[in-house]
């Protein structure tokens, strides 16, 4: 029987990336750019952020030098995989005017075979959420489908947690359980990192075999489990999303929303970095002579004033209402709509919020306010 776990060194990982590139994949990995980590095309391990780790805290994201030889001593890229799969800006239609009539031109979706190296379990979970939203409902998003279907996913289990991580309480990490072609764990005690590689799909197994990966030592699997368990235990933030659907309607009048609204800038950073926020807007662009017209789709944010504009004004014109909508949807109503919360515990909204608003803390305060209101009601 073929073994399902393998041992890879850095050369092996390079070979894996090279094989994917030969097969026509555009390979993406976490790469240092503009003093942050982003999903960027990579050609090998040399492009990965060796020598860097991250300092992540509410309202704070810094790259910090790290003396280790590890390639994955960081946590999350600034954005989720949606930056590559649910494109921030894409043309959805092109039309040309001909004698008063207009023609819809061919506009094939920008199909690309994308492979990702170093996908964190929270981001893998986010992909499952996006699949449900964009492919699993009455209408399917063709652009997302074209890119998602061909995607090859190499995950990395987290054996350390950042202070802003809360995937353990969301059930999405720190160990990836499914949804990957290959899952890696990094061992970087010495000068050269080594990888425990599990195949999660036949394609993943074929690729590992093709790269001549050796079987993994028998005790590595347990070491990974223990590392992930330690990472889970180290998480100080947690969020009880299962309580959200029942609570959300009762929380509508909570005084705590005003407290958040005093701090929230309605900048939309949280929705940009959230790996599951899917909302988009559409824009028309016309050539100066009017012969060509295009529609473009771009990411949108429910924190903008115009998001809910209808004749007569915006439905949610206060910042309080916009934050309330975002949190209520993300944690509660998403479950009614799609059977899963819209949060995977990646912590990005905490990190990239300019004023450090912490979704776990805000939800905890909301729960407390609901409990206080309930006890007040019973005393009456």
């Amino acid at each position: 029987m073929r073994k399902k776990s393998y041992r890879l060194d850095e050369k092996g990982l390079d070979a894996l990336i090279a094989h994917l590139r030969e097969q026509g994949y555009q390979v993406y990995g976490p790469k240092v750019e503009d003093a942050a980590l982003h999903w960027r095309p990579i050609t090998g391990c040399a492009d990965l952020p060796r020598g860097w780790t991250q300092e992540l805290a509410p309202g704070r994201a810094r790259l910090e030098p790290d003396n280790s030889a590890a390639l994955f001593h960081h946590w999350t890229c600034a954005e989720g995989l949606k930056a590559v799969l649910h494109l921030p800006l894409v043309r959805i239609m092109a039309a040309r005017r001909d004698n008063g009539w207009f023609r819809i031109l061919d506009n094939p979706p920008p199909a690309a075979r994308c492979a990702f190296v170093g996908v964190r379990p929270c981001d893998l979970a986010a992909l499952a959420v996006l699949d449900r939203v964009l492919l699993g409902d009455r209408y399917a998003d063709d652009i997302y489908r074209a890119r998602r279907q061909g995607a090859f996913l190499i995950a990395i289990h987290c054996q350390r947690s950042a202070p802003t991580c809360f995937c353990a309480s969301m059930g999405s990490g720190p160990r990836a359980r499914s949804g990957f072609d290959i899952a890696l764990s990094e061992f970087a005690e010495g000068d050269a990192p080594e990888y425990f590689a599990e195949a999660g799909s036949p394609a993943g197994m074929d690729l590992l075999e093709a790269c001549g990966a050796a079987p993994a030592p028998p005790d590595w699997s347990r070491a990974v489990e223990e590392g992930c368990a330690r990472a889970a235990a180290a998480q100080t933030r947690r969020l009880d999303a299962h309580a959200a659907p029942q609570l959300i309607d009762a929380l509508f009048d909570s005084p705590h929303w005003d407290h958040v609204a005093k701090r929230c800038l309605a900048c939309g950073n949280c929705t940009s970095v959230c790996p599951t926020c899917f909302c988009v807007n559409y824009e028309d662009r016309t050539s100066i002579d009017g012969r060509e017209a295009e529609r473009w789709r771009l990411w949108d944010s429910c924190f903008t004033q115009s998001f809910t504009y209808i004749h007569g004004g915006s439905v949610r014109s206060s910042v309080k209402a916009r934050y309330r909508h975002w949190l209520s949807h993300k944690l509660g109503r998403w479950q009614a709509q799609f059977g899963t919360p819209g949060c995977t515990g990646c912590g990005r909204c905490i990190v990239w919020c300019p004023v450090g608003i912490d979704i776990t803390e805000e939800f905890r305060q909301l729960q407390l306010s609901a409990a206080a209101a309930a006890s007040f009601a019973t005393k009456d």
Binding site: F102, R138, V280, R316, R324, A336, Q337
Partner: protein
Amino acid sequence: MSTAASAAPPATRPVMEPVPVRVTSVSKETHDTFTLTVAPPPGDPVSAFEPGQFSMLYVYGVGELPISISGDPAVRESLTYTIRSVGQVTYQLVTRQPGDFIGVRGPFGSSWPLKEARGKSVLIVAGGIGLAPLRPAIYSILRHRGDYNRLVILYGSRSPRDLLYRKEFAAWGLLPDTQALSTVDYGGVTWRGHVGVVTTLFRLVRMQPKETVAMICGPEIMMRYAARELEARGLPPEQIHLSMERNMKCGAGFCGHCQMGPYFVCKHGPVFSYPEIKPYLDLYEL
């Protein structure tokens, strides 16, 4: 959902791609409202709609908007829209000339519960341009008149000059077993009809509440009070339906703009039963 939605457009055409259609007529209803008729390609699914559904109308190079279909669902050769000119795209739509082309996507959304209403009386309550999405339901009822009991149409408008479909409305009132009453907020010196909000007409309606299905479309505040009042008058809440409006960019549940509580108004609505939408109607800035 208690209301039926029609099948999605065929997989061969992406849901976001408009069909170019020729404008066949543009007629003036009021000083700011026009009815536009277009001729979709014969047999195209874009014209197979249920009363209450909407299309996304695209003006080349200008933009796209959700507009309710206001024509007869039995007429498959044309699609009719009644549009109030309030912004750039609606202005461009109502100033089209016959022979011009616009783009149409859809139809989208849920529809009025005409099947459930069979054997019962139907109470139509419209406010302003809200009569437009209800007109296909009226046409459908009139075509299958024997399937329904009484038909009552109540229509409130700001002023006499804002009343839509005036001749048609007067003709409906003359049909047997049919009551059509209109009222305005401001009558002026020549108006001899009712003055007041549409709910003030309820006391004039002859119907058996338990055997009546209500279909309401108008400003949200009007629908809230109409639904509340009808429930107080004995209509079972599940027999009250209303059509919601929210910002819609795609019609297909992708853009997220039209969310109202747990619903995407574009795909779960726009027509909701009162029990479905009631918990969210009174929440300010939901």
